[in-house]
Symmetry: C2
Subunit: 163 residues, 2 copies
């Protein structure tokens, strides 16, 4: 019995440690590891912010976007990952990613987040993944910015097409 | 026996059709479907060409890039996918992908492609995926461009980092 408990604990330990260490946004959304293993929805470039980005989505989100399903179903998750935009040192015509700047998540739960289009928002900044926002009210800032794309289920990004 | 043959044919048919339809570059490298299911290596933006891109890699390539293994091992495959760069219609500060423009592949086989740094190059242009190059000599153009990054195994792109 003791042996089984030890095995269980040794298997669970990394999970428990990871969960304990994951930063949490003021609205309760925890940092979601693994967003770099999700499929690409699109790249984007923000000259005004000096950032180059990719938007990734989990299987539920990507399947819905490919099918044109709107609104996206509960369980959809998107990540917008931003790096400092830099000129390539050898090939300056190319703007490429430098240091990591932030990652933003949108998590769909139509009931839980009904006041913000069914989307829960979170942002984690810098290498320390500092949660953005003083309190849960920070989401109004996110939502206000996304309002102009309400007809696209509050998403700016359209999924890229390839032949 | 007939039944088994029918089953084998019905299973193989989509593969055979896909293989028959895949465009082939003048150096014999066939279009590689599935590159959008590979992991992201980085986004990039080419203002001079009006293109926004992502570079993806298969498991072998991505594992080697994360580990810092150079040169990359045989079997590594990278895709550079380019879309027309456009201002977002609602949020013009963001440059986003429009129409698909081209996809370029680099395929590692140190012996087969020893004259070009161990890399086989191919480019497929537009929605018709037209193979680039009049003859197999087109690769000298690719290789010349990649020569300045010879010390990085002829790769311009560094894999993005996240915390």
């Amino acid at each position: 019995m003791k042996r089984i408990l030890l095995i269980v604990l040794s298997v669970m330990a990394p999970v428990l440690i990871a969960a304990a260490q994951a930063p949490v946004a003021p609205n309760g959304i925890a940092y979601i590891p693994g967003y770099m293993t999700w499929k690409v929805i699109a790249p984007s470039y923000r000259e005004d912010k000096g950032q180059i980005r990719i938007i990734t989505g989990n299987e539920i989100a990507v399947a819905a976007l490919h099918a044109g399903t709107k609104p996206l179903p509960d369980g959809s998750m998107l990540a917008k990952v931003a790096w400092k935009a830099e000129k390539h040192p050898v090939f300056p015509d190319a703007t490429v990613p430098g240091a990591f700047m932030q990652v933003e998540f949108m998590v769909k739960d139509a009931k839980k987040y009904k006041d913000t289009g069914g989307w829960g928002f979170a942002r984690f900044v810098g290498d320390e993944l500092k949660p953005y926002g003083k309190d849960a009210g920070f989401v109004s800032e996110c939502f206000q910015c996304h309002l102009p794309v309400a007809t696209n289920d509050y998403l700016f990004t359209k999924i890229v097409r390839t032949p």
